[in-house]
Symmetry: C2
Subunit: 325 residues, 2 copies
């Protein structure tokens, strides 16, 4: 028997979340029962998808749902050994018991920081990998455009395309991120869509057109990309953030799909279980060799999870937002 | 040596074409030279694509470009025999000489009218067949929506879907056409998009959603279809007529592609040469058994070609517009 802390949502935010919407709750935690494991949290993942859940699925007075990495500290379940590192979906819990469902044993590479299993080697990474290579059917050396290319998924997609010998253009929302794309991630061209005219900048950056557009934005971004797409181009639709807050911009250039014989297709991370093994092998190698770069913002201390979440929504992170327990 | 008539464009229309924009020109026609054939026109195809060409590619003082069916009356080309029926792209010419390029020998089925080789067994038919079965990857028994389902392509697509055991909804612009879709073409549901609220009518007509949308319209039609699409639905994009005249309606529902894992893909008639043989066999059988119905408006007399063209643009046709030479 011990005690453990959880972060609860105690009030639905009216607009931007504030610290008072959350509470750190400490409660007794029994030892693992028959068939159970007890997991000590190590790293918490803080993600954009959490925002809509605060006013919808997330229950009040329960631990915030989310992904994390922990260590098995007690095991009465034959599938787990004490000391093993696991990836779980138990959210903002410092320590918890589980029957093992949804808990996956990791064999983390000793030469990589554990945190990469929360992004480049996690759901973010497989989303970029599967979306680009399978949905986008990327061929080596093609012309690629990635929107929000400095984001968690976009940055991985753009760098995989570079590894595949492609010419890669990325869009992003600040000059700092643009610099990161060009100088760290090694993209061929980058556009700050807040300060530049996206359509003309994209035309200028894509003299040989676009074969694959990795779509995260929708609206005006999609119209600008459609105007540059090559014959039999593919648009892999990962997200359309411009449409999520209601002010949906209409897309006007879709008729180019016809004579261009273009394909546009949606996907989510869970579409690619058959690619998981190859993805793990490829991505581990690319991270170890430094061919995939990433950014992380890590807050130290379990109690800082609400601050991390609010900071994410305020854009105070560079790259993946994490909390070290 | 004989003489033959042609229909020339003599003036670019300012708005709707008028008879004075055209002229019937009679000129001497030499016998077929070495390597040539002489073809007597039988049927002329009159098509919507001709409208934009009147103010663009179509040359003044030359025969209007277009498709037709004729009979070989002289042959000095070993690939053709006198008496053969051919399909050609020589346009509004009563009789002409050709080196044989772009001229295709037909072996018309004696139980079918020759005119069907200008629509259901021609480019219109293969567009519907390939777009629905290959681009749309239609499976037997699926839920299908066809826009402008009484049109030349749409009517064939909708009836092929019925033959494949699908539940088929069609949209059209008049109550007469709606009646034809339900009573002649055998669709399960039809919507007059001019008099009904398309979005709610489509929701009501598609209780099990839509697996394949055969898209001819774009804009509000596409938004209405997207709101009904099933998981892994396919949108085969044949046309987007709502966008052709400049007043492009923006499409706002595209983000459903993501979680719906939907695919949207453009195509044109020439994408399906590998399906041609199977298409000819299937469609010949369907037409002979009456499983594919069609409508034709046939004007008698070569000199009526301008009237047919103007009539098409004014919507005075039911089904395919043709001229019998």
């Amino acid at each position: 028997m011990t005690t453990a802390r959880q972060v609860h949502l105690v009030r639905r935010p009216g607009g931007m979340p504030v610290p008072e919407d959350f509470a750190i709750v400490e409660a007794p935690l029994a030892d693992a029962g028959e068939g159970e494991i007890q997991v000590q949290g190590l790293i918490l993942s803080v993600d954009p998808y959490m925002r809509p859940r605060l006013n919808a699925d997330q229950k009040l007075g329960e631990a915030m749902a989310g992904g994390g990495i922990g260590r098995v500290v007690q095991s009465r379940n034959p599938k787990f050994r004490e000391g093993e590192i696991v990836r779980h979906g138990q959210g903002f819990s410092e320590r918890f018991n589980s029957d093992g469902r949804g808990v996956q044993v990791l064999n983390p590479d000793p030469d990589l920081p554990l945190s990469v299993y929360m992004h480049a080697l996690g759901g973010t990474g497989i989303t970029a990998y599967g979306g680009l290579l399978e949905t986008g059917a990327l061929k080596d050396g093609e012309q690629v455009f990635v929107s929000t290319a400095a984001g968690a998924v976009g940055s991985v997609a753009a760098q995989i395309a570079k590894i595949k010998g492609c010419y890669v253009i990325g869009s992003t929302g600040s000059d700092d991120k643009k610099r990161w794309l060009l100088e760290e991630a090694g993209l061929d061209a980058a556009i700050n869509y807040r300060s530049e005219n996206l359509r003309s900048a994209l035309k200028a950056a894509a003299p040989r057109g676009i074969d694959v557009y990795f779509e995260n934005v929708g609206g005006a971004h999609l119209d600008a990309a459609l105007a540059c797409m090559n014959l039999r181009g593919r648009i892999a639709v990962c997200g359309m953030i411009s449409t999520y807050n209601g002010e949906r911009e209409g897309v006007r250039n879709l008729s180019v799909l016809i004579y261009g014989r273009m394909r546009m297709e949606g996907f989510v991370a869970s579409d690619f279980p058959h690619l998981q093994e190859q993805f793990q092998a490829d991505m581990t190698g690319w991270l170890k060799s430094g061919r995939i770069r990433y950014q992380e913002t890590v807050l130290e201390g379990f109690e800082r999870a609400p601050e991390a979440l609010i900071g994410l929504f305020e854009g105070r992170n560079a790259g993946k937002m994490l909390v070290r327990v």
